[in-house]
Subunit: 308 residues, 2 copies
Amino acid sequence: MDRKENASTAGPKGVLAAVLTPMDEVLEPDHKVFAAHCKRLLASGCHGLSVFGTTGEANSLSVNERLSALEALVESGIPAQRLLPGTGSCALTDTARLSRAALEAGAAGVLVLPPFYYKGVGDDGLFRFFAEVVERVGDDRLRLYLYHIPQMTGVDLGLPLISRLIDAYPGVVVGTKDSSGNRERITTLCREFPGFSVLAGTETLLLETLRNGGEGCISATVNVTSRLARRVHDAHAEAKNDEAEALQERLTHLRASIEACPVIPALKQLMADLTGDKKWCNIRPPLSELDEKSAKKLLSTVPLAELL
Amino acid sequence: MDRKENASTAGPKGVLAAVLTPMDEVLEPDHKVFAAHCKRLLASGCHGLSVFGTTGEANSLSVNERLSALEALVESGIPAQRLLPGTGSCALTDTARLSRAALEAGAAGVLVLPPFYYKGVGDDGLFRFFAEVVERVGDDRLRLYLYHIPQMTGVDLGLPLISRLIDAYPGVVVGTKDSSGNRERITTLCREFPGFSVLAGTETLLLETLRNGGEGCISATVNVTSRLARRVHDAHAEAKNDEAEALQERLTHLRASIEACPVIPALKQLMADLTGDKKWCNIRPPLSELDEKSAKKLLSTVPLAELL
């Protein structure tokens, strides 16, 4: 199987939300609100849903909490093939278990962080981690996306490592979410690894990534910008270049208006406002709700009518 | 209860090993070898054992793997009161569960990392994390030690945060392991928080920390330097100042000879050599065994007769 073929059969692509995890009063994932939010995102233009990533506070959840939230989501009727769950953790056994569960649930793939406790471990140790995950899942239906977000992990997934993983596991290591914010890196990934799915970690780079041959974006702010992000995608797909650029500019502005605050609390605040459900603000430590002043400022600067 | 009293009743103090976790062929903790190693460490001078820290690859283990290894250790006859298990993780629910289990097993205390996935979250979020752990354990027998190791966590446990936690949970937040390597910080902690147990993260600072009013050290290399480290401690306790200094100098040299390699693989290599059990080299990714050349160099430079 060559890489091109893999990529064309691998899902998801286009506009993906890095989905927020709503929580109840005791900070447990609220499965009902979660499912409703996922359905709304699919209805408002998302091609797919990357649940349990950084935005989803996945590493603030136990493995069992992640497993039961995923199960509840699929049971609620969300098509598993639209899901790209994050299964990253520091522990090989946890990542293997979460990845196997996602595969068995029918998810399109898994988004895997490098192990992020130890720093400066070198490419051999990182390679061995991903290799062990693939071997332990032991199923060639696995589609593994490498999650690069060095500002959180403190770990660099360098291009030589990515190349080595693609070569060792063709058809399994099929893509990456790149949240480095490094445009040059994203362009290089698209160019150097044809057939490998490159998804930018922000919708600010959506059009640019699509034009460079990437597959789209997986973004936190898409929790509220999905409609507009989808329009950028579709205008590009229809080769309406000027329209795509104008829409991208609006999208970039919209994201910037949210990014002035810490993004995850800001998005939860916006969801609380948009849905009228104050529980949306609940967030696990070490993250904190926006304080009242920041919340007011956010709601006064973000063009709410443009959201969702 | 004033702080002085808390500290004098809180265990453990003196020389503590940050205990290695031996692993079998499939990289599962080897409970039998683990218990034997812990018994040897207690017999060779360790006052206490900090299992499941950075050296113990705790964050490379799942919660269940940590729980069953702890249970097996206590069942093997290791006195639980000599244990200070690491219970840190990114997830509040995991840390609370591990801490409660350690308390129920009879451990002297728990060593807790700040949540280390998110960066730059601010003191309020960190305070809330530790506060939630204390509240969720919900037992005033809990003795919580703050684990400061910013080179791994990327999180700073600043003095204002520590002060706030001591004030909020007197008798519960009772100490810290400081692996920053920052001597000035350790001195300041000893001076600013009387009655708060300060343990240096390296035996290189053992004598200095004891002289400054700290309680001792918790160190990776104590897995093989415990005899000598204990002699430093005892010479200090007996006010044999010159002897203590001479021994500390030997200890510092001994540690330096090991630190030339990545410490955890080097210690596992040394244990393999000292026990004749090659399985001691097994290590979970992202850490890697020493390559043959480094292992040879290590074994030729470290004075093996001084170890254990």
